[in-house]
Symmetry: C2
Subunit: 360 residues, 2 copies
Amino acid sequence: MKQEIGFVQREVLKEKPDFSSLGFGKYFTDYMFVMDYQQEIGWFDPRITPYEPLTLEPSAMVFHYGQAIFEGMKAYKAADGTIQLFRPEKNMKRLNESCERLCIPQIDEDFLLEAIKQLILTEKDWVPDGEGTSLYIRPFIFSTEPYLGVRPAKQYKLLVILSPSGAYYGDQLSPVRIYVEEQYVRAVIGGVGHVKTAGNYAASLKAQEKADENGFAQILWLDAKENKYVEEVGSMNIFFKINGEVVTPRLNGSILPGVTRDSVIELLKYWNIPVREERISIEEVFAAHARGELEEVFGAGTAAVISPVGELTWNEHAIAINDYKIGELSQRIYDEMTGIQLGKKEDPFNWTVKVEQVEV
Amino acid sequence: MKQEIGFVQREVLKEKPDFSSLGFGKYFTDYMFVMDYQQEIGWFDPRITPYEPLTLEPSAMVFHYGQAIFEGMKAYKAADGTIQLFRPEKNMKRLNESCERLCIPQIDEDFLLEAIKQLILTEKDWVPDGEGTSLYIRPFIFSTEPYLGVRPAKQYKLLVILSPSGAYYGDQLSPVRIYVEEQYVRAVIGGVGHVKTAGNYAASLKAQEKADENGFAQILWLDAKENKYVEEVGSMNIFFKINGEVVTPRLNGSILPGVTRDSVIELLKYWNIPVREERISIEEVFAAHARGELEEVFGAGTAAVISPVGELTWNEHAIAINDYKIGELSQRIYDEMTGIQLGKKEDPFNWTVKVEQVEV
């Protein structure tokens, strides 16, 4: 599948937005990467083309049967002026895992990563360098075949679009209020919660709406079978620091295996801080608080990196975490991760990948 | 929301396909109904326009977060030459239920139904009249706002497209082999299985692929919590006739409330045949077979109307239903339902709606 990547020049470049107030996912760069799939051909015609509207049949299967998956990654302007990615091979691997579960034909991970690098190099002036900013990278695949029978499509489109973005939750780490959802569920074992498919996010909106109405920033999701075990927070993985030990729900088939989650675990091990992946019930969390042992709670995900939790509400019972202050460990992880991502700190894990060496 | 429906004339009409070999969901008519939504305006600009490709931003939220819902209905050429719909108000109501769960702004049910009638009248030459044929109607709504933050979109598109179709599973009722899926699940309570959202279908494809590979036509889905209770078959509701009584899983929050399901129940009551909606385990089904009491099994849905099950396999244990023959009751229900739909039989329930009276 090593193919030449085509290039279609844009007539007029866009005016760039103010990089000091980007928000998240609002602006898109001049170019995008596109590749098509047809059953008889495989993935074909990889190309970098102007970012522009797509043309799709009303019967395109994605609108009806939802075969749509995506990834979220970031490119950072490093301290030395180079552009770098953070563990992009993990995202490529997960993209294929999502493909597999959704019956979407797999992609060549190395090829796509090289194509993404080439796209970023084309758009290097769009990589912001302000505090907390990055070039958000969104690879996604969806079905395009015009047909209404229920079966895997025979035609797909893969795109990579780029969005210069500020910090997801604003510029400062600030602890948020979250509540434990008991009516709606995010995912169940045997379903698709462990992969990044569009339908998971659609299904989560109702609970998020409820959260907003009640003044909460995020939802803490429980498992769908017993409504008892902690799964995720909003669209992030979650960590609890209890009596000096860090616990995060183990990957059970309904939890998304986050790249940030994995990195936090690696980092803690490197620091010799005890960390365990295991099933943890919401009762245990509240019991730890009652014992005065619940020291920190934080979410971990690509968009926010680390999002400290200041308050947890379950059945009208609210508990304050670390007196609504950012935990010491949360801050340390955030500083270390963003330090590595921005090339300001050493990278003993070889997590960062420079965008210079394009080999396509 | 009573608005004038615009009309954009098509330059050249399409050549019609051979109505004797339509298949399902492959051909689309000359026109479609379209309506847009913006948060500040509400639903606006309802119009009947040429069926043509849509133009969407690559960042349109539907590709990323999957807010997409749909309905499936049919228009029939009745024995007297008129065109009629079957319980369309039920589909309009369910469309709004899907809207509600997926945080999509609701539509005016009466208005949309009148718009659908107007569209069908425009396309009356596309309603086929061969055995088992109908004009399949697909209303659907999806998010169009170009934004990558996770929240309900502020812009949507509603379309209604029409597809002249043959019988979903070919022209004759013929019993199919199905197997009981124990690894994958379709839906869980607290999720979105009770509404018609695209993601449900995407999530079901993997198990269908497994079914195909093993020579089965459909999947029998069990509940996600205990992997024990029968939910649906493929994308249909399911009925069991056990010792003279008909049982179908009760609507529990993860089962789709099918219009055909409801109609079968009504019909059975009308005929004074005992029918119960209740939780039924797969063990009970197999036990009934062991006692020689499992008389008939059939799926019920808009596409196929009635689909008899000839064989059921659970954990490598296969049982034959009614010796692989179409059950007497299955056939009777099929004949009655299609008879009513085609205006060949009396309609004591006032289920059919003529498409003449457009009041927009």
